[in-house]
């Protein structure tokens, strides 16, 4: 087995195996599953990172069977960056979930509600992890569909682990949106296969899809994926689902799950369709801009902690779509358009920074409401003095979202701005800047409540240390990417925007 084969296998099948282990349901099985999943994905993504950095994109034919009948795993820089950030977030959330549902070793999984939640959470999450890694390593459209479907099913189930009626309804709505999105995607896949007779991304890219059929197919797949990514105006399902889920699930949904469908969108538009159309790119950017403004304004108006963060996800996802038009500053004319490295690195850095920061913030918010047993902004007043580490994590995460140094968000926004300014795109400059200021406003609103002098009376439940550390570690990771991101930069250029030309 070559290195690439070993690492891709570890990343996809490690968490899958771990999920099976965790199905055992006893506390020891849950712990073993989390450990196995974390170790295999961390190792797999690190190993692949080094491979791709040294040798460029790598390929693994599962069982030695290649296209069209076999399944291929394929990784370039974009894949490994997403794999790695998922592994980091995933490991931290796994650590967090060891304590969130109560002490796993003494938990009675049969009777207590927390025990039931833990018993479902762990295998579902590990299954979700495997599906996400599968998406990042898929080399053909049908694999993407299958992994996407697993991702959607597991994610919707995670939401309903919170037993409130509101969360159950939000989870159901999420499931329906997700399934309809998958169907639209599958229809697009069928049209593409009809037209080009292949599903392998690389061969499709070589066929340079054009014409009405290919355009219809791209439109269908885009609508489907945009619904799953909660791109404005298809975002309405996200805030209740992400805010209603248990804290570790919220962290996963907001930080990494929406990135799965975002990844597919980027791959389709740029790697397969070579940019699609200029008008289409501007449309995507425009929707992203609307998402930034609308999501931020709504985040400012929320009264519950988790809802602020959930609406912030709607807004921050907008930045990743603002990347679309900026990637092709000179338009798509000619057979080989110039892709902007600045927009590419900047956009993906923002996605990475959002994943790290948002997971950290949801976990920190989870700690705060864990301590006061409520979730309203007023209820957390004064909590900063009791939970300084969680407060710090939330603040650092907020810095990253707002694009203030030191954070990956600062570097990412600098690069995006640089592309926008050199292309004379003042609209994008204004959106990026105003979005940053709005972000500061809603982050500060939360911080101010947490800093309030008079601590809320009532019981204060001590928060397990490892839950605080899990949140802080991710926030620190995001901050350190703000002083050193060269490694991410280099690996992202392996393959780049359009890896198959």
């Amino acid at each position: 087995m070559t290195g690439a084969e070993l690492w891709t296998t570890a990343a996809v099948f490690g968490p899958l195996l771990a999920s099976l282990v965790a199905l055992g349901g006893r506390p020891a099985a849950l712990k073993a599953g989390l450990l196995l999943g974390s170790v295999t994905t961390l190792a797999g993504s690190l190993g692949l990172w080094l491979q791709v950095l040294q040798h460029g994109p790598v390929r693994h034919l599962l069982g030695g069977w290649g296209a069209p009948l076999g399944i291929e795993l394929w990784a370039d820089g974009f894949s490994v960056v997403m794999l790695a950030v998922t592994a980091l977030v995933g490991a931290a959330v796994s650590l967090y979930s060891l304590s969130y549902f109560g002490d796993l070793s003494t938990l009675d999984a049969e009777t207590s509600p927390a025990g039931r939640a833990a018993r479902y959470f762990v295998p579902l999450w590990l299954l979700l992890w495997s599906a996400l890694n599968g998406i990042y390593l898929s080399a053909d459209l049908f694999n993407l569909y299958v992994t996407l479907e697993i991702l959607g099913l597991a994610a919707a189930a995670l939401v309903t682990l919170a037993v409130t009626p509101r969360a159950t309804v939000a989870g159901m709505r999420y499931l329906i949106v997700s399934l309809v999105g998958s169907m639209l995607f599958l229809l697009g896949v069928a049209l593409l296969y009809t037209e080009f007779g292949t599903l392998a991304l690389e061969e499709l890219s070589a066929a340079a899809p054009g014409g009405p059929m290919a355009a219809t197919s791209l439109a269908l797949m885009t609508v489907g994926m945009a619904a799953k990514t909660a791109l404005f105006p298809l975002h309405a399902w996200l805030p209740p689902a992400h805010a209603g889920a248990p804290a570790p699930a919220s962290a996963l949904l907001s930080a990494v799950v929406v990135k799965g469908s975002f990844f597919i969108l980027v791959r389709l538009w740029f790697a397969v369709y070579g940019g699609g159309s200029e008008a289409g790119l501007v449309l995507m950017g425009g929707l992203g801009a609307a998402a930034i403004l609308w999501g931020s304004v709504l985040a400012l108006r929320q009264r519950s902690l988790k809802r602020v963060i959930a609406y912030s996800t709607v807004a921050q996802l907008g930045y990743m779509f603002v990347m679309f038009p900026l990637l092709a500053p000179e338009g798509l004319g000619g057979p080989d358009p110039r892709w902007s490295d600045d927009a590419w690195i900047g956009g993906i850095l923002l996605a990475v920074s959002h994943a790290l920061a948002k997971a950290s913030m949801f976990m920190a918010a989870g700690n705060m409401s864990y301590a006061v047993a409520r979730d309203g902004l007023r209820d957390i007043s004064g909590v900063a003095h009791r939970l300084p580490m969680s407060f710090l994590a939330f603040g650092l995460g907020g810095l990253s979202l707002a694009g203030l140094p030191p954070s990956a968000g600062f570097v990412g926004k600098w690069l995006l701005l640089r592309e926008a300014l050199s292309a004379g795109g003042w609209f994008w400059v204004a959106i990026i800047t105003v979005g940053g200021l709005l972000t500061i406003a809603y982050v500060l609103k939360v911080l101010r409540h947490a800093l309030d002098r008079e601590a809320s009376d009532g019981d204060f439940r001590p928060v397990p240390r490892r839950m605080e550390w899990a949140a802080l570690l991710l926030a620190l990771a995001s901050a350190s990417l703000g002083v050193r991101a060269t490694e991410v930069f280099q690996v992202l250029l392996q393959g780049g925007v359009q890896p198959w030309t």
Partner: protein, 505 residues
């Protein structure tokens, strides 16, 4: 101990930055009750910083220069450069951090949330030293924006509605301008192709001539970004409001670190990015000079009508800061010397005044000038220090302020801008008009009943806690020494001349 190997250590600038960052982060994880450990960490960091800066001073005086860089992404690096210009500001903040730390420990004794206070206090100093040594615009903006958010918890430290409001005002101004600064900085990089700071500027005069509108906008964006912290009219409004913060914050941050970051930024903008000749050709420097001159007079007039002592000092800060901008914007090396030394002189004089205001407020509960009657009898040392600061602000010899104004005046003549002399004179008269009544009240009026009653009983041996008095007296002595010993090569004046001679401006 032989320090020669350390003198050649390129990472010295990084060590200087870390000497406050590391204690700051460690303090963040301490419990509120661990006061002794917290204070030790703080003092250790402050002393280490002064020692490291001392090493760098020695090296730079001997002609060495230090550069340390970390690539963030290809094409953008965090670059710290320890040259004579950077050290002028670094030394100021390091020394004043040391004295202010002592002051703050005593000032806040027994109050709430000190862990948070000292952690962010250290982070502020970290950001200040970082931007002082920034070798390029990216690094500068990095630390400049970090300084903005690190200061916020200190402004709202008291947690009162008034403090929260002041904090909001502060953020509106600084973050709004910060966003404009970032756009300006990125735009500069796009147009100039570099973000490096270099003596004489990196902007090509012919490029400016071919796109004057673009460059004017870039300059304006950057000037707004720098100007808000330097409290240039009309974006100075946050500074008097922010005076609700505790005295050590007003002293170090709003007299030295934050506002000097802005003034230093304007210096970098005029000299290291555009180059002063290009800035004059495009008319930008004269705009800065005019704006600064107006701010000087305007803020002095505003100070006249204040009764709150800290507010007077705040408006005086607004006014005095513009001396720096005015000096560096003129096209004459003597004016540059005047601007640069005022960066230091204003810092040590104004911190003295703030220390004294805090002392008086802390000991007697007096915050208003009208209640200050006879304070000098109760607190002679404090008022002596205050007097030194006030005399310096007016610009009378032998205090440091006189030297600044002298060089600014000489420079104005050299640059052929005699109107500046008029501004300096007007400002001196106005300064006298608001400082002298304070002195008269404190020395010659009868003790005000508002504090005299509470101050009965056995008088303490020293007028207040020695940890509060010592910093005030120390900085007053510095202010005197900087004036009296100006001819020494280690005085701020001597160092500013070294900066010009080494050609690093």
């Amino acid at each position: 101990m032989d320090v020669t190997p350390l003198l050649a250590w390129d990472a010295l600038p990084l060590a200087v930055v870390l000497s406050s960052f590391v204690p700051g982060v460690m303090i963040m994880f301490l419990k509120e009750e661990q006061a002794r450990l917290r204070n030790s960490l703080n003092m250790a960091g402050a002393v280490a910083k002064v020692a490291l800066v001392g090493l760098m001073l020695q090296g730079v005086a001997g002609g060495a220069s230090y550069e340390w860089a970390l690539e963030v992404v290809p094409g953008l690096s965090l670059t710290l450069r320890g040259d004579a210009l950077a050290l002028l500001f670094v030394t100021l903040s390091a020394v004043l951090w040391l004295v202010t730390t002592l002051y703050a420990i005593a000032y806040l004794e027994g109050s709430a949330n000190r862990t948070r206070f000292f952690a962010f206090f250290s982070l502020c100093v970290t950001a200040t030293t970082g931007l002082a040594m920034a070798g390029d615009l990216f690094t500068f903006v990095f630390f400049y924006e970090a300084l903005t958010w690190a200061t916020y918890p200190l402004v709202v430290h008291k947690g009162t509605p008034e403090a929260i409001r002041a904090g909001r005002t502060y953020l509106y101004y600084t973050l709004g301008a910060g966003a404009i600064l970032v756009v300006g900085a990125v735009w500069f990089q796009v147009e100039a192709g570099t973000v490096q700071f270099a003596a004489g500027g990196v902007v090509d005069a012919t490029a400016v001539a071919s796109g004057p509108i673009t460059w004017a906008f870039i300059f304006a964006f950057l000037l707004i970004g720098m100007g808000v912290k330097s409290a240039l009219f009309p974006i100075h409004g946050w500074l008097p409001t922010a005076m609700v913060a505790p005295a050590p914050v007003s002293a170090l941050l709003h007299a030295v670190a934050v506002v000097k970051a802005g003034a230093f930024g304007i210096t970098r903008l005029l000299h290291s990015l555009f180059g002063i000749e290009v800035a004059w050709e495009m008319g930008a420097a004269v705009a800065v000079a005019a704006l600064a001159a107006f701010t000087i007079v305007y803020a002095s007039v505003r100070a006249l009508s204040q009764d709150d002592l800290k507010k007077v000092l705040a408006f005086s800060t607004v006014s005095q800061l513009s001396y720096i901008a005015l000096g560096v914007a003129l096209l004459d090396p003597l004016a540059h010397v005047g601007g640069l030394i005022h960066l230091v002189h204003q810092g040590i004089m104004k911190i003295t005044l703030f220390f004294c205001a805090g002392l008086i407020a802390q000991t007697l509960g007096v915050k208003k000038i009208s209640d200050m009657g006879g304070v000098a009898r109760r607190m002679p040392l404090t008022m002596a220090a205050f007097t030194v600061g006030a005399v310096g602000m007016i610009g009378l010899p032998p205090v440091a302020g006189f030297i600044s104004k002298w060089y600014l005046g000489l420079g104005a003549l050299g640059a052929g801008q005699p109107w500046v002399i008029g501004v300096l004179l007007a400002s001196s008269l106005l300064n006298a008009a608001y400082f002298l009544p304070i002195l008269r009240t404190a020395y010659f009026d009868d003790p005000d009943p508002s504090w005299a009653r509470g101050a009965e009983g056995p008088r303490p041996r020293l007028e207040a806690d020695w940890r509060l008095v010592l910093p005030a007296v120390t900085t007053a002595v510095f202010s005197l020494a900087a004036g009296l010993l100006a001819a020494s090569s280690w005085s701020p004046l001597g160092w500013a001349i070294l900066i010009i001679e080494q050609g690093v401006l």
